[in-house]
Amino acid sequence: MKTRREVLQSLIVSIGGASVLNACGGIARVVPSSSMRFYSDQELALVSRISDLIIPRTDTPGALDVKVPGFLDSLMTEWANPETKNNHHEELKELTRMLGEGFATLPPDTSEQRLAQFDYEAFNGRPISYSGYRSLKSLITQAYFASEDGALQEQKWVAVPGRWDPCVEIQ
């Protein structure tokens, strides 16, 4: 089992190795990164924190292990048009406002509780005001399952099934 610090280190590797890891009192912060092409430092910290909370490492790798934030930074840089880019920035701004300015640096238990409550509201309350969160959650999940570990270990993706079995008992 990797430590939180090691997880964050792997995150940094994922974003080009130019970042400096600064951890204090269990609170991790990623400080200036010249290799991020889309996210600001604040945005990266938020996206990283949310990614880790939504898909943590368990007995399989988590979102940070498979470098989801770096993946999304590339996606926004290479795939998104100016309107989508702007929307994504705006959504993160709104998320920061709704979750609270210091969300990314809250102690883990606190941030987990906060996001769990927020997620509950997003799926049970007024979904429209939470569309930015739901959109980010969707991207994080898609990016995770598009990774080698996410696809093979978590989703049990098989390249060439070789046969079709229409009814399998789940053990």
Partner: protein
């Protein structure tokens, strides 16, 4: 002496068949393909795992706006970053629509055409489809009946490889099938409940052009059984689904009689008034812009229904001032497609502890019952549904929860969803047509296609009823959380089943082709792509193009041998 015995224009679904059959009759054949060569080892991406796909395999939004503004919205499920080279760039291959109308012309220009991107559903037309026009006095009568084409369906099915079940339905005749992909447990339950509630309706296994019990003939072409990857839109390294690239063109090649020419855009078919024969085709090279002429004793147009009509319309002469073989003025008219945009989905309970293994390339099919077994309909003809019942699954994060619970929810047992969507018949209408744009041309100087196609009341009413029927069947099957969006008819052309632009008929005054796909006006000119269709039926049409192509070649080859043409 002509350069070739026969020229086949187009290497796609029907052109491959024309080429194979002509070559196997011992004729020297040139296939003219307007696009570049597809090399599977270079161009197929079916083996690309998710983590090697760039940006979730999404084409960048700016690139879509520049190059794929018709193709991508039209067929987003199949146009991806990794396989975008299978689809035309809209800015390079533009077309126009008459104000107030829309048309989706979705294409791939390369070896084997759309036969490498198709969705492989393969159904025979039934006896009723060949007589409906006559009985209802709509359009013109088909000059062919089911019994005449039936043995040719047998013939092409054996070679192509169609996985399907023999269901014994008269409106959707059985064929020479390989084993079908078995229904999921939820589909079996859905079938039982729907068939009990609606005795005239059937839920059957989709019939798809996938090998499931490879024959020696197929193995000799390097083909093998479907591996249940369901990556078909990215090519198939196993050559398991039927395409011209892996079946008909290699069969033509091995005769030694085939000359394959790429980047050859046909601009006209040349006509000699004295002999009343076509003499060959003029092409412009897509890469060099050089013009060439190929002569031949026979010409088969298999360019696809729109392109074949455009070629005829561009081929003007003093005998045919309105386009070659167009004395009837029917070329480009009666353009049809299938119409979708109605369906329903819902959850089916009782299978939460079950899942599937493998990725099946088809699902279920509900054959047409309207005006077959049920006669109380406020519309003519009918529709079939395609669909399936599979575990809901979730990879898009649209379920509640965070952390370990959320992560594990993706692999946990869960509900199954049934989904069905209608494919309806579009009635022929001479006002639905494609013409040459009066002023605009593409970069090779060819007039742009100008579409003027709209649906009629029959299609609108039919699809409203199809939506209600879909909901009723899901209700009868005990589904919960049934969703059924308001009917939103697909844009004409969107189903990529365009057909009818040179219909066959008995009377040269009202049709372009006779029952052998031979033009009434010019004996050595044949068209065996979707152009010949006198009505659209509601079944996916490719299998019919295959059968009519093979039958037509036999006829043409016999005429050549008898020196009639």
């Amino acid at each position: 002496m002509p350069d070739f015995d026969a020229i086949v224009v187009g290497s796609g679904m029907s052109g491959g068949w024309s080429a194979k059959e002509l070559c196997e009759h011992g004729l020297r054949v040139a296939v003219l393909e307007r696009g570049p060569e597809i090399k599977p080892e270079r161009d197929y991406v079916d083996q690309l795992p998710p983590w090697e796909q760039k940006n979730l395999d999404r084409i960048s939004q700016d690139e879509i706006a520049r190059h794929y503004y018709k193709q991508y919205p039209g067929v987003a499920y199949a146009v991806k970053e990794s396989n975008k080279h299978f689809w035309v760039k809209d800015d390079e291959h533009p077309y126009e629509t008459v104000n107030g109308t829309e048309y989706d012309w979705l294409r791939g220009y390369h070896t084997a055409g759309r036969s490498i991107m198709w969705s492989r559903q393969s159904y025979r037309m039934g006896p009723q489809d060949f007589t409906a026009n006559k009985e209802e006095n709509i359009g013109i009568d088909w000059p062919v009946r089911y019994d005449e084409i039936s043995p040719w369906y047998d013939y092409v099915e054996r070679f192509a490889g169609i996985a399907g079940n023999r269901d014994g339905l008269k409106q959707l005749p059985d064929g020479e099938f390989q084993p079908a992909f078995e229904l999921t447990c939820a589909e079996k339950e859905f079938k039982t409940r729907v068939e009990a509630a609606f005795p005239g309706r059937n839920v059957i296994q989709a019939r798809v052009a996938h090998i499931t019990a490879v024959t020696d003939e197929q193995r000799a072409l390097g083909r093998t059984n479907c591996q249940a990857q369901n990556r078909c839109h990215f090519g198939c390294s196993f050559k398991a689904y039927f395409s011209s690239l892996h079946a008909t063109l290699p069969a033509a090649q091995r005769t030694g009689n085939l000359t394959m020419v790429h980047n050859a855009i046909v601009q006209s078919v040349e006509f000699d008034a004295e002999s009343n024969r076509v003499t060959g085709v003029r092409v412009v090279d897509a890469e060099t812009n050089q013009h060439r002429f190929y002569s031949s004793r026979l010409v088969f147009l298999n360019a696809s229904t729109i392109a074949s009509a455009l070629i005829l319309l561009q081929s003007k002469s003093s005998t045919f001032p309105n386009g070659l073989a167009n004395a009837s003025d029917q070329v480009g008219r009666n353009l049809m497609d299938h119409v979708s945009g109605a369906g329903a989905n819902g959850l089916i309970q009782g299978f939460e502890n079950k899942t599937v293994f493998g990725r099946r390339p088809g699902g279920i099919y509900i054959p047409r019952y309207a005006n077959i077994t049920e006669h109380d309909k406020p519309y003519k003809r009918g529709f079939g549904y395609q669909g399936g019942a599979t575990p809901l699954g979730n990879a898009n994060g649209q379920i509640p929860g965070i952390g370990q619970v959320f992560k594990e929810a993706h692999g946990a047992p869960g509900p199954w969803r049934v989904s069905i969507g209608a494919f309806g018949e579009q009635l022929p209408n001479p006002n639905n047509r494609v013409t040459l744009h009066p002023t605009k041309v593409d970069k090779w100087g060819n007039p742009l296609a100008l579409f003027n196609v709209t649906y009629s009341e029959n299609e609108r009413i039919m699809l409203e009823e199809a939506r209600k029927d879909a909901v009723a069947m899901l209700e009868a099957a005990g589904c919960s959380e049934i969703n059924s969006s308001p009917v939103n008819l697909t844009v004409p052309g969107n189903r990529i089943h365009e057909m009818g632009s040179a219909r066959m008929g008995r009377d040269p005054d009202t049709s372009v082709l006779n029952g052998w796909c031979q033009t009434h006006d010019v004996p050595n000119l044949f068209i065996t792509d979707g152009s010949f269709m006198a009505s659209s039926a509601c079944q996916n049409p490719s299998l019919s193009y295959m059968a009519f192509s093979a039958r037509s070649v036999k006829y043409a080859a016999d005429l050549l041998e008898e020196k009639v043409i």
